[in-house]
């Protein structure tokens, strides 16, 4: 079976006035249908750029990206996307914010209301359906934006550091909820993060990236049980993975410790 996403020898160069900046160099990996893959790296390693390229929001300079067998030139069909900032629309209620993706695609949102409310309820926002975004906390806002991404039952969910701006406890809660969502729906998820713990806890596979230029340092299969309570993070197996990743980063000179 051919992979769901095929990223082959992708380069991305930003033209700038002084000299071109190489953001991505020879990125090459595949993602299978239903896989949860994290891209982990320090800031400036091009991980967000890579996501934008896969989403069809940035053109690539070389190589090829295919989603479901189709080369990406515009955004792939039926794509769910979550950004670091929730980008909820201030003038819409939480429910209408979830429904906006249907409206933008030219679909009638009315038949989707029930599904939207169900989704919001499953993320603990059942009593906030008719509230406005400014009445919600940061964690609740990001939950709403995840519901928005899930509304049309996308086959691919791209998440660009979605929990990066949240406090540690909210982040843990959302990690659990996202992992649960993935186990229930088995969507293909590509998750960008700079948190080692988050990447190991959530993923089947981690693409570790290095910077200057952005490139793949190592791809790690995470062989932990599918069911992962938060306590998994205390297990020796879990710590082996985090220790290994930290070692990769320090051997590249990204983390200077000791």
């Amino acid at each position: 079976m051919s992979p769901f996403i095929r990223i082959s020898h992708v380069d991305k160069t930003y033209e700038s006035r002084r000299s071109p900046v190489k953001a991505l160099s020879d990125i090459d990996f595949d993602i299978a249908q239903g896989e949860f893959v994290s891209i982990l790296g320090p800031s400036g390693c091009g991980k967000s750029t890579l996501l934008k390229c896969i989403a069809g929001l940035e053109p690539i300079s070389g190589g090829r990206i295919e989603v479901a067998g189709i080369a990406v030139s515009q955004s792939p069909e039926n794509l769910g996307i979550v950004f670091q900032r929730d980008v909820l629309l201030d003038w819409r209620t939480v429910l209408d914010n979830v429904l906006v993706v249907a409206e933008l695609q030219g679909l009638d949102p009315r038949p989707l209301r029930a599904r939207a409310i169900e989704l919001l309820r499953s993320f603990g926002l059942g009593s906030f359906v008719d509230r406005y975004p400014w009445e919600l906390s940061g964690g609740m806002r990001q939950r709403a934006s995840i519901c928005r991404a899930l509304l049309l039952d996308p086959q691919l969910l791209l998440m660009d550091e979605p929990f990066g701006a949240l406090d540690a406890m909210t982040r843990d809660e959302l990690n659990v909820e996202l992992r649960r969502t993935w186990t229930e729906t088995r969507k293909t998820i590509l998750f960008i993060t700079h948190s080692v713990t988050e990447a190991v806890y959530l993923s089947d596979r981690i693409v570790v990236m290095s910077r200057n230029p952005g490139r793949i340092a190592e791809i790690i299969d995470v062989d932990l049980p599918a069911h992962r309570p938060l306590s998994t993070r205390g297990e020796p197996d879990f710590n082996r993975y985090t220790a290994h990743i930290l070692w990769v980063f320090s051997s590249m000179g990204i983390i200077k410790g000791d």
Partner: protein, 271 residues
Amino acid sequence: MRNWWIRSERLRWLTLILVGLLGLWEISVWVTGVKSFILPAPSHISREFASAWGFFIGHAAYTTGTTLLGFAIAVVFGVAGAIGIVYSKVLNLLFSSLLVSLNSVPKVALAPLFVIWMGTGVEPKVAIVVMIAIFPIVIDAVMGLKSIDPDMLNLSRACRASAFKTLWKIRFPNALPSIFSGMKVGISFALVGAIVGEFVAGSTGLGYVILIAQGNFDTPRVFAALLLLGLIGTVLFYAVDLAESLCLPWHVSQRADQQANPVAALGLGTR
């Protein structure tokens, strides 16, 4: 009903201050014995108004009509123009330089030209109103349409939304607060435009009334017309303000128990 309480308290104070000032004015005119063609007493002005209120209402209605018509045209063309400037490279290049130079011409100085072109009817007056009111609306609308979170546009593109859907569902509502602040400046400018038009030519409107009364040294009539203009201007401003709070209940400026505050609304200062 806390909002009502604050508002009524403000209203009480406002009435008190106004009554006090009018009283002071009346007494000073009476004490100093200043001639009424220099400064008429408030009682004299109200007698003037009462003696010919039909006359004043007729002219006030004309001025208000001209202002509203011109303002409506300015809003429609201003917003449409702003969309054009934001979406078209050519228009953007053309206007980003031209708009500034055009705006620096004192538009009042164009009034005589409009009379040559359009005669002495209502048309040149409406044209002057449009001319003078459209600039703040275009400038603020362009600003509002441009200041958008790039990720909002990315979201829209990821949904493969059409350009029209992106404009209608995202860019335009996002720009509404800016458009309204342009409209608030525009509505005050619009009244100025209407009066200037009436000064230059024609035989109707409060501007015309003031001009003729001035010729006859009928100062009470000038004052009566001025007070009416002040009233019209205030009502028009608060009408736009009301429309804003009805259209944008979600916006930061409308969230708290706030009432219309012309100073804050015009960006002249903070409370």
